[in-house]
């Protein structure tokens, strides 16, 4: 069990969100889409230039820029 930043996750890796450290509009948007502590996510893939990243959460696919993913801490096994 290791706690890392979402940006460091590898493709195919699963993790459980521990903390979302974003506020104002970005924070709102991230949370509305379900990125909250306790949710499980799987990294699906990255765009050709490694940014943005696409994740699976609650059964759908969400994309996020790396500098947005930085706000999210995840626990991976």
């Amino acid at each position: 069990m290791e706690r890392i930043n979402l940006r460091q996750m590898k493709i195919g890796q699963k993790g459980i969100i521990q903390r979302v450290n974003a506020d104002s509009e970005l924070g709102r948007r991230i949370r509305d889409m379900g990125l909250i502590p306790g949710k499980e996510i799987t990294v699906q893939g990255r765009a050709p230039l490694y940014d943005p990243v696409s994740l699976r959460i609650m059964g759908f696919t969400l994309t996020l820029r790396n500098n947005e993913a930085d706000h999210i801490d995840v626990e991976v096994s």
Binding site: K14, V20, D23, E25, L26, G27, R28, R29, I30, R31, D32, M33, G34, I36, P37, G38, K39, E40, I41, T42, Q44, G45, A47, P48, L49, Y50, D51, P52, S54, R56, I57, M58, G59, F60, T61, L62, T63, L64, R65, E68
Partner: protein, 734 residues
């Protein structure tokens, strides 16, 4: 029974499909008052009654984050509809219910339409609908909007439950916030703060959520209470930050999802597969957004689309051009010589016909694009291009705006300019809406089609691809140029859902394509027609003066001097085959005089003089006065470039055997060649947007400064690019 109900739900949940199914063709599109968010309404006549359905914009939540959400929320609060039909994606239940719960917190009656049951089943998701319904205390009707299944049951449930006023849902937000809510409510109720519109507890919640719209309204209505509330909120914020290291907003979102989760956990939903398991769409995306294959596939898609379009439309376009040529020739023979004939043949038929001739091409292009849009591929394009776009000061969403404006082909800059609204950062927004006019909008397509058909017939698709690449590259470079002069702002978030790939229905595609063709033809029959008439007038008057006419008369006399009267009559009236060689020679000379006269009349006209005046600048780009007129006309609508060239080359020629299509005329015209054609193409890509777009830019930016900039800067850039190209190209040996 008659009632007004509202249709609301997440984007990509099938809301539009359901709306279409319920209202059939009986829709009406307008605007919400005061804002330019589209308001779609329609009538649904079912067994149980007649319902007016308002389609709210798709949203994920009801925060004041975006204009669409605010509009949706305001509509719900102000109009208090008798029922919300909340469309929920069954394969995405948890996130969809996050919105449903917010409706319930507002105390509004909700009926859930559980859509995409078929997709859920395939993914091994089983939902206990009666359980869900009883736990949420509202009706839940399963539907498959795509097939129209469940429509009746849905409307029956709506009719049964319409007009109820349920108690607002109260979710527990944890000890700290619950206490804060109670405290806030205790102030709001007696002060009747923002009541009766908003429920007191809901207002309290919004204050804790830092909802700017509610806070502003509260402040305006009752400053004292507002300030008291604010004090409490600040205190709570600090406390939460210290003890829990987070903000009230975060806690609220957590608990809302927590509530949804607790409902679902009670046996409502069962997964027979890992819900985050890799789906077919994801497998496709592994390839489509792959490091190396992704970009290759993108270019290949474009190339494929253009090849498809040009190949299939070649024959129909040629046929249509032939048809208009025939109509033109008929009119030429049927009408007596004179101004009316000139107006009808050169002004109207050859002008508008030039634009209408490309309808088959437009049709195939639109069909292809509709296909790409409906599959969901465009979201992938945004995903892949976001990083690059950001480097130039744009955003992944700008890709959507670009495509809408014709980034692939055929679109309109106006919705593209408006689409830039999704970008909060002023820098990104401005950069997007100023570069959107570079795209291949539907109006520019006939211009490119004409020029490529005339001078690049063998490689139309490749040239089209080149044009697309040039317009995108130009847009990126100009955006980059602009960013250095604009204020830096925080970039708009790129938190975006990638919807699963969908196979478009043929019916949907045909409807889309058909709608666009109708618009294209309508525009040709109205705007283009009117402008063609005006331009014809500008190209005909004032005509030649007495001396000039006399000079031509003298030329004619000179040619036929020495020939007997009867011989001259024969030459003019007999068919060509019956003439002797000598007579043919004379006739040709006479026709040449006619052509010269027509040409000089044209050059002497108002438009001709304007065009000639501009020549001193444009000749370096390879344009003559006729092209100049066409380009000036293009400011009204880009198709006018084609119709004006059609009229100009029709007016300057004489003789029925010369009726070819406009492409043919250009091929044999003086001063025209592949170099000039491509120079004109470059100019068309970049120069001033059409009038409608300019006005739209002024409105969206709130000032005429940027609108003027788009006209002046773009035209200047276009001139520079075409001139450089033409000059360099002229140096290269053919």
């Amino acid at each position: 029974m008659n009632a007004t109900v509202v249709l609301a739900g997440n984007p990509n949940s099938g809301k539009t499909t359901l709306f279409n199914e319920l209202t059939g063709g009986r829709q009406h599109v307008g605007n919400y008052p005061g804002v330019t968010v589209e308001k779609k309404q329609g009538t649904c006549k079912s067994d149980t009654g007649r319902f007016e359905i308002v389609d709210l914009p798709g949203t994920y939540s009801l925060t004041a984050y975006s204009l669409e959400e605010v509009v949706a929320r305001d509509f719900l609060v102000d109009e208090k509809p008798s029922m919300i039909i909340n469309i929920v994606d069954a394969s995405n239940l948890e996130r969809n219910l996050y919105l449903s719960v917010q409706f319930m917190e507002m105390g509004l009656p909700v009926c859930i339409a559980l859509n995409m049951m078929d997709v859920a089943k395939k993914r091994g998701i089983e939902i206990d609908i009666p359980k869900l319904s009883s736990l949420l205390k509202l009706p839940v009707v399963p539907i498959v909007a795509r097939d129209g299944k469940g429509k009746k049951a849905l409307m029956a449930a709506v009719a049964e439950n319409v007009g109820q006023r349920p108690e607002p849902l109260r979710i527990s937000y944890g000890r700290d916030l619950n206490a804060a809510l109670d405290e806030l409510e205790a102030l709001i109720r007696p002060a009747e703060f923002l009541t009766p519109q908003y429920d007191p507890r809901w207002t309290a919640l919004k204050y804790l959520e830092n909802d700017q719209q509610i806070i502003d309204r509260g402040y305006k209505q009752d400053k004292t209470t507002a300030m008291k509330l604010d004090t409490i909120v600040q205190r709570v914020k600090i406390h939460i930050a210290h003890t829990l290291d987070t903000h009230p907003e975060g806690i609220i979102a957590d608990h809302r999802y927590g509530y949804v989760h607790s409902v679902l956990k009670q046996g409502v939903i069962r997964f027979f597969q890992d819900e985050n398991r890799i789906q077919v769409s994801d497998k496709i995306d592994r390839i489509v957004t792959n490091r190396f294959l992704g970009p290759v596939i993108m270019v290949a898609m474009l190339m494929g689309l253009y090849q498809f379009t040009f190949t299939l439309s070649e024959a129909p376009v040629a046929w249509l051009e032939g048809f208009f040529g025939w109509v033109s020739a008929m009119a030429d023979q049927a009408l007596p010589d004179g101004m009316v004939k000139s107006l009808v043949v050169s002004g109207i038929i050859d002008g508008v016909g030039g634009v209408l001739g490309f309808v088959p091409l437009i049709m195939f292009m639109f069909f292809g694009i509709a296909f790409l849009e409906d599959t969901g591929y465009l979201a992938r394009m945004s995903f892949m291009l976001d990083r690059i776009f950001r480097m130039f000061g744009l955003h992944g969403s700008s890709v959507m705006a670009f495509v809408v404006s014709g980034g692939i082909a055929g679109g309109c800059a106006v919705p593209g300019v408006m689409a830039a609204r999704t970008l909060k950062s002023p820098k990104e927004r401005l950069a997007t809406l100023l570069t959107v006019p570079f795209m291949n909008c539907g109006a520019k397509l006939p211009v490119f089609a004409l020029l490529t058909a005339a001078f690049f017939a063998e490689s139309q698709a490749q040239v089209m691809l080149l044009i697309t690449l040039i317009s995108w590259t130009g847009a990126l470079l100009v955006a980059w140029l602009l960013r250095s002069t604009l204020i830096r702002g925080e970039s708009t978030p790129f938190v975006m859902e990638l919807p699963p790939y969908r196979l478009p229905t043929l019916k949907g595609l045909l409807i889309h394509t058909f709608e666009r063709i109708i618009q294209y033809v309508k525009k040709a029959g109205t705007v283009i027609l009117l402008i063609s008439i005006i331009l014809w007038a500008m190209m005909t008057f004032p005509g030649l003066d007495e001396n000039q006419t006399k000079a031509f008369g003298d030329q004619r006399s000179l040619i036929v001097s020495g020939l007997p009267r009867e011989a001259v009559d024969e030459i003019m009236t007999l068919e060509d085959e019956k003439l002797t060689d000598a007579m043919t020679a004379v006739k040709e000379k006479l026709l040449q005089v006619d052509a010269d006269q027509a040409g000089e009349a044209l050059q002497n006209s108002v438009a001709g003089r304007m065009g000639t005046a501009l020549e001193s600048i444009t000749r370096f780009a390879g344009f003559d006065w006729r092209t100049n007129i066409a380009l000036v006309g293009g400011f009204a609508a880009k198709e006018v470039v084609v119709s004006t060239l059609g009229t100009a080359y029709s007016l300057g020629e004489v003789g029925p055997e010369e009726t070819g299509s406009l492409s043919e005329r250009l091929q044999s015209a003086d001063g025209w060649g592949p170099l000039t054609a491509f120079s004109l193409i470059l100019f068309t890509i970049f120069y001033a947007p059409c009038f409608v777009t300019v006005v739209c830019i002024a409105k969206e930016t709130g000032s005429w400064k940027w609108a003027a900039f788009s006209v002046v800067f773009n035209t200047g850039l276009a001139l520079l690019v075409s001139t450089v190209f033409y000059q360099v190209g002229s140096l290269v040996p053919a």
